[in-house]
């Protein structure tokens, strides 16, 4: 009950206040009119410099060039930055930016200073691929360059003194090569000169290959990585009938299987 009484009182107070605010005031006097402007001849203000500035093309690859062109009016002092410097009012310049560059032409003139920008976007070409790795030599090539033929006396398959030296060197090379070429097998071919019968020479070539294999195995080459084959006199290196050629054909030769 008492709450309603308070609200009614508040409403009454606010109504009174509003009624008091709405009371009319007296209007102010009008301001004096503005003074008449004084007419005077004044020169027109100097024009600001006019600029056209472009870069063609706007995108290049690193190493290529772009051409900046400009035409400037109403300017006394023109410069292009970066890297170009003062220039004439009209001209062009080739530039070789290494990175994306925004060139700014600044023209100062009586009318002020104006500047324009033109960008040359520099794309970096993909780096060249690394040079191909040195080609891996085939087993045949390695054998041809690192393993030497060993030579024999006429109608003999004994390992001569010089053949011992050759085969010792060969054993080191073959061990190294067989480590590089896992699973490879080296074939020892036995060859003969032309003098014995072709049939007997097939046997003699076989003996030479076997003798060389036995020597290499003694030197520590794994026997199961070696194989033998007789060519007799079927595959001569040379065909002349003299001791020089005969000796060249009395040999063991090493090839890939």
């Amino acid at each position: 009950m008492s709450k309603r009484n308070i609200s009614v009182a508040m409403l009454a107070v606010s109504l009174f206040l509003v009624a008091a605010g709405c009371k009319k005031k007296a209007p102010p006097p009008p301001p004096p009119p503005p003074p008449k402007p004084e007419v005077k001849e004044v020169p027109p203000p100097p024009k600001a410099p006019g600029i056209s500035f472009s870069a063609e093309p706007s995108a290049i690859e690193r190493g290529q060039s772009a051409t900046l062109r400009w035409e400037v009016s109403d300017a006394t002092d023109i410069s292009v930055a970066p890297g170009v410097g003062s220039v004439a009012a009209r001209g062009s310049r080739q530039v070789y930016p290494t990175d994306t560059t925004t060139y700014t032409l600044t023209a100062k003139g009586p009318g002020g200073t104006t500047s324009r920008s033109a960008s040359v976007r520099v794309t970096v070409p993909p780096p060249p691929p690394p040079p191909p790795p040195p080609p891996k030599r085939s087993l045949s090539e390695v054998l041809a360059s690192e393993v030497q033929d060993a030579f024999f006396d006429y109608d003999k398959s004994d390992i001569r003194e010089d053949a011992r030296a050759t085969l010792s060197r060969n054993s080191d090379a073959i061990k190294r090569i067989l480590q590089e070429f896992t699973g490879a097998v080296v074939v020892i071919e036995g060859h003969c000169d032309e003098r014995g019968s072709a049939e007997y020479n097939l046997g003699l070539g076989d003996r030479r290959a076997t003798a060389a294999r036995d020597f290499l195995v003694q030197m520590g080459v794994s026997a199961d990585r070696l194989s033998t084959k007789s060519w007799g006199k079927e595959r001569p290196q040379c065909t002349e009938s003299n001791e020089d050629c005969w000796q060249r054909n009395r040999r063991v030769h090493f090839v890939a299987q």
């Binding site: 003098r195 014995g196 019968s197 072709a198 049939e199 007997y200 046997g203 003996r207």
Partner: protein, 461 residues
């Protein structure tokens, strides 16, 4: 001076006689004296004439190289050559002789037997005939006359008609057949129809293929085309299979091919670092060869399909070229290094009773049994530098031998013709190695090949 030259003549004559005697000891070429035969060029009617050069050359070659005849030289033949029996004209009998005057000679009416039996031809036999093209065929009529006879009926040995295709091949075929019939009258087997297999390098450098040709070198044709090394061929006794070593699979292996179809036959032989020199037993059921067993090239035997492989020799040396005696099938001649340089030995098929056949001098190789099973031909450097082989023939029982070639280059791989009187071999006497034939006395040399290098001939029936 005169005495010296006479002496020299005598020496040469003695040498020749000795050589002839030696040859006779080894292989009998003829029974008794050789007959003299006149072989005038036959002519052809119509189209047939185009092939008469090939015909006459083939006929002459077959008859001459048989070694059964002495050839009466053509330059001595009479001008009038009969072409058929009807061309003969018996001379008129001479009138009885008058007293005190030489007997008159019979009156000649035309070609007669005495034109050939008398001087200068002095022939015992005359082959005559002619060819014609008839119904698109090469038709040969051929006769053989014994010109020592008095009348035609007795003189004619035989007369036959032979047919062939109307080309060089047909002409050669009828010539071979006519020659075979002539040779048959004298107990000589014709070589017509026999074949010679050999190794040729004519198809490419470093490539060896097996080829075949007729006995006179004609019709040379490939048996293999592996574009690899094929070598040491052998032919089965029935002529149906050729065996050889081939490197086509990388490592050497024995391959067998049918000579008729050219197809490869099944043979599961060993693959080794060395497999070579196959040969067939006379029954054609087994094959011998050399291959590396336990590091040594040794002799082994297996069935013709490769099964039942057994080792025959057990010597730590090189043993190759096992060749089975074609008569007995129980012995082999082979080449071994067991005594030093390569020599020829014999042993039984089970490896027992090994004996050295050659003397140990030089190098000996390529034993080839004569069909009689008693002689071998082989190559030997005895008396020459290493590699300079000559052909020899040896009586295996007595070890006596005769040398057939004498230092004319390198002569190897002799092989007997089925007639047992001819040999084929390779020789580089004309430059590169080529295939040659000769009589078993070293005469009648004929070069059969010219293209590329040709070696290792094998004469097959």
């Amino acid at each position: 001076m005169k005495r010296k030259s006479t002496l020299m003549c005598l020496c040469v004559l003695a040498g020749l006689l000795l050589a002839a005697q030696q040859s006779d000891v080894i292989i009998k070429i003829t029974k008794g004296e050789r007959a003299v035969i006149a072989l005038p060029d036959l002519r052809g009617a119509g189209e047939a004439q185009r092939f008469m050069d090939a015909f006459n050359q083939t006929l002459w070659n077959d008859i001459e190289s048989s070694g059964l005849f002495k050839m009466a030289p053509k330059s001595l033949y009479p001008l009038e050559v009969p072409q058929r029996p009807e061309d003969f004209r018996a001379p008129l009998a001479a009138p009885p002789a008058r007293k005190g005057q030489p007997p008159p000679s019979p009156r000649r009416l035309g070609p007669w037997l005495t034109d050939w039996s008398g001087p200068p031809v002095n022939a015992g036999y005359l082959a005559l005939g002619y060819a014609a093209d008839q119904a698109g065929q090469f038709v040969l009529r051929g006769w053989l006359f014994n010109v020592g006879q008095q009348d035609l009926t007795n003189a004619q040995v035989f007369g036959k008609i032979y047919l062939g295709s109307l080309d060089q091949e047909g002409a050669r075929k009828t010539a071979h057949e006519f020659a075979a019939d002539i040779l048959a009258q004298f107990g000589g087997a014709s070589l017509a129809g026999t074949k010679i297999y050999f190794v040729t390098e004519r198809t490419g450098r470093g490539i060896k293929e097996i080829w075949a040709m007729d006995h006179d070198g004609s019709n040379q044709r490939p048996v293999t085309s592996y574009k690899s090394v094929c070598t040491t061929p052998a032919v089965s006794p029935d002529g149906a299979t050729v065996a050889f070593t081939s490197y086509v699979g990388g490592n050497p292996a024995i391959l067998l091919h049918s000579t008729e179809t050219g197809r490869r036959l099944r043979f599961y032989g060993p693959v080794s670092s060395m497999v070579a020199t196959p040969d067939f037993t006379p029954d054609g059921q087994k094959i011998l060869f050399s291959f590396t067993i336990n590091d040594w090239p040794q002799i082994a035997i297996s069935n013709v399909d490769g099964s039942d492989l057994r080792r025959i020799s057990y010597v730590r040396t090189i043993e190759v070229e096992p060749k089975v005696n074609p008569k007995t099938g129980a012995q082999i001649a082979f080449v071994s290094g067991r005594g030093g340089p390569q020599q020829i030995y014999r042993m039984n098929l089970d490896g027992t009773d090994v004996r050295l056949l050659t003397s140990g001098e030089g190098q000996a190789s390529n034993p080839a049994w004569h069909p009689d099973g008693q002689h071998i031909a082989f190559a030997w450097t005895k008396g020459y530098a290493p590699g300079n082989f000559n052909i020899f023939v040896m009586d295996v029982a007595t070890r006596s031998y005769v040398q057939l070639t004498h230092g004319a280059g390198r002569n190897e791989n002799p092989s007997w013709a089925p007639d047992g009187r001819h040999l084929v071999f390779s020789s580089n006497r004309s430059g590169g190695p080529q295939i040659w034939t000769m009589l078993a006395d070293g005469t009648q040399l004929h070069q059969l090949t010219t293209q590329g290098r040709n070696t290792m001939p094998v004469w097959s029936k």
